[in-house]
């Protein structure tokens, strides 16, 4: 376990000296102005302690916001007792508070273990990218497809993708070209979603539904979809070999489905499947990428800026990706 200590104060470093001697934890000391850079991409195995002495209130708030948004577990060191509303720190995502007394007596490995135990129990409160299963009703599959059994209900990330105006394409292309494009498109989707554990599940000639088992973590398929929209011209030139612009639409949602093998899906009755098909076919405009508010909240923070609210559909708020020209 890595403990990142952001402080410019020798007294605080001294307070953490017992931790540096522990075999369970590796202590890394950094100046506070490196917080943003050092915590980007920090995972479950990192706990951050931030010394707020010398930071203005806006800077304190900004630092906490960054940590919360990145889903990084953190504690606040307040050696001078400048924080008035300590519970508010916890409401905003902090997992520990080291005040005047503790800063003087020093941190122990035992106390740190308790802190880590407390913080790991509330992942949803730590920010975006992770979800608390019990409250949300999600049935997570921690091991991806290996956890999935036919006939059981699981939560899946649902991706609807379809080529736009297939009838127009059919007129432009010969039969051989048309079937080649359709095969290439399916292969392109498979190759793109494969690395995030996605599999085309229900597929017709022009597109279909891709399932990604939900592992309770980040929403990798949102990044994949974003990339697919960015690279649609590369797809046209490189994959199809035809000098014809193609476009496709993507819709993303999350929902529970009783899993059945691909090809054996005809009898499934599912609100989640109905919704994603309706969203993709009726709401998303050609060439666009839309996702539900629920998915939006789980998408990486950096990507969220590219999505704009675009109304509601069947009771769910929808956001649309700002398109590349």
């Amino acid at each position: 376990m890595d403990i990142y200590l952001f402080t410019a104060n020798d007294a605080v470093r001294k307070c953490f000296k017992p931790i540096s001697g522990s075999r369970l934890y590796t202590l890394h000391e950094h100046p506070p102005d490196e917080l943003k850079a050092r915590t980007a991409g920090a995972g479950e195995d990192v706990f951050v302690y931030l010394d707020i002495e010398g930071l203005t209130h806006p800077k304190q708030r900004a630092a906490c916001r960054v940590l919360s948004e990145r889903g990084v577990r953190y504690g606040i060191i307040d050696r001078t007792g400048s924080v008035d509303d300590i519970p508010l720190l916890f409401f905003n995502g902090a997992s520990d508070y080291i005040g005047k007394t503790l800063a003087r007596t020093g941190m122990t490995a035992r106390r740190l273990r308790k802190t880590l135990g407390y913080s790991s129990g509330t992942p949803a409160e730590r920010g975006a990218g992770t979800v608390r299963t019990a409250d949300s009703g999600y049935i997570v599959s921690p091991e991806g497809w290996r956890s999935i059994r036919v006939g059981e209900e699981y939560t899946f990330c649902l991706m609807y993708i379809e080529l736009d105006q297939p009838s127009g394409l059919r007129n432009k292309l010969s039969d051989v070209q048309f079937s080649t494009v359709m095969e290439t498109f399916k292969k392109f989707v498979q190759t793109s979603v494969g690395p995030v554990g996605g599999k085309p599940w229900i597929w017709n000639d022009f597109g279909g539904l891709v399932l990604v088992p939900f592992d309770g973590g980040g929403f990798g398929v949102a990044v994949t979809s974003f990339r697919m929209i960015l690279s649609r011209r590369i797809f046209c030139v490189e994959e199809t070999g035809l000098d014809i612009p193609f476009s496709y639409r993507i819709a993303l949602d999350i929902g529970n489905i009783v899993y059945k093998e691909s090809g054996d899906t005809g009898t499934i009755v599912s609100d989640a499947i109905n919704f994603i098909f309706h969203l993709g076919k009726k709401f998303v405009k050609p060439g666009n990428f839309c996702l539900t508010e629920e998915v939006f909240n789980m998408a990486p923070e950096g990507l969220r800026r590219s999505f704009r609210p675009c109304g509601s559909f069947e009771g769910k708020k929808i956001r649309r990706m700002r398109l590349p020209l």
Binding site: A37, R38, R227, L230, D243, G302, S306
Partner: protein, 319 residues
């Protein structure tokens, strides 16, 4: 003397299976007479003397099958199987000495060679190493000092000095490494090769397939991937920004990059440093005209005061 692509001073050491030898002997024996076989062999081995090689008396005619077997064995012994098959394909397509030949078993031979790690590139009509098996700077076939037409892609990080000054050293190194991974993936996916990398940028070369399109698509992919990288995983206090140039022209291949002297490479670097804005790729006129309409339509004329126009790609967003 006809230059046969694929003959190298350091030829690619391909494993030649017995089945491939069998196919080539049949291909040769069933497609041409002994005279033509000798004529063809002399394109690869100067003054090739089949009588001397087979031990037949000069006043006897050599049976087709014996001649073919001897020639194929000699090609194998001299590690000339790759140029030999290249030449057979060339003769099958264009003929030899004004005469047409239909050479059988070529598809099977090419398939057998693929198993040994070389693939046939229809655009350049050359064999090259299969990038899934092996990746070398000369694609396994280009010769030292020989001149070829390449398409080059040069990448350079913007504001490197400031980046180094304002970020911890390990984070800067991690960012350099991430940049290299992005460039390498985009380039090698399209059978390009990174010839030189200097931490914050480098030079990639494309020779096979539709090289201009491949280089431009790589440049576009690098810009897209960096955009996503900056949004999601960049640990620097500012986004990582690059300038990319793509240019095509002749260059003598040198295995050692330090010895490479090429106006085309210099021009590529000049386009990158003088005519390219951050987060964009600049494409020279020659490369632009090799692009498909869909791709060319995305390029914007830079209207610079030079003899030939430059075109630029930038990621633009709707308002």
């Amino acid at each position: 003397m006809l230059v046969i692509p694929g003959i190298g001073r350091e030829p690619y050491r391909m494993h030649v299976s017995g089945w491939l030898i069998h196919l080539l002997v049949r291909a040769l024996a069933e497609s041409m007479d002994v005279r033509s076989m000798v004529h063809m062999s002399r394109r690869l081995i100067r003054n090739y003397d089949l009588y001397e090689r087979t031990g037949f008396s000069r006043n006897m005619s050599i049976p087709n099958k014996d001649a073919a077997a001897r020639i194929v064995r000699d090609m194998k012994d001299r590690e000339l199987i790759i140029p030999f098959v290249t030449l057979l394909i060339d003769i099958h397509q264009k003929g030899l000495g004004g005469r047409k030949y239909r050479i059988p078993y070529l598809k099977e031979a090419v398939r057998e060679m693929e198993k040994a790690g070389v693939i046939y590139d229809r655009n350049s009509r050359m064999f090259c190493e299969n990038p899934l098996v092996r990746r070398t700077n000369n694609w396994g076939v280009l010769r030292e000092h020989e001149e070829y037409i390449f398409t080059f892609l040069h990448t350079d990080l913007v504001g490197n000095t400031e980046l180094v000054r304002r970020n911890p050293e390990d984070i800067v190194h991690a960012a350099y490494s991430d940049l290299r991974k992005i460039v390498q993936s985009a380039v090698e996916k399209r059978n390009g090769r990174i010839w030189n990398w200097e931490g914050d940028g480098g030079l990639a070369a494309f020779y096979f397939s539709n090289k201009s399109t491949c280089a431009v698509l790589s440049a576009i992919e690098i810009i897209h991937e960096l955009y996503i990288y900056n949004r999601i995983s960049c640990r620097l206090n500012k986004p990582l920004r690059v300038r990319i140039a793509v240019h095509s022209g002749p260059c003598r291949f040198r295995r050692d990059f330090e010895q490479l002297e090429s106006d085309t490479v210099n021009k590529t670097i000049e386009i990158q440093s003088r005519h390219t804005r951050p987060d964009t790729a600049t494409i020279s006129d020659g490369v632009y005209h090799m692009l498909d309409g869909t791709l060319a339509g995305r390029m914007e004329n830079l209207n610079v005061q030079t003899s030939a126009p430059f075109y630029s790609y930038k990621l633009k967003w709707e308002k």
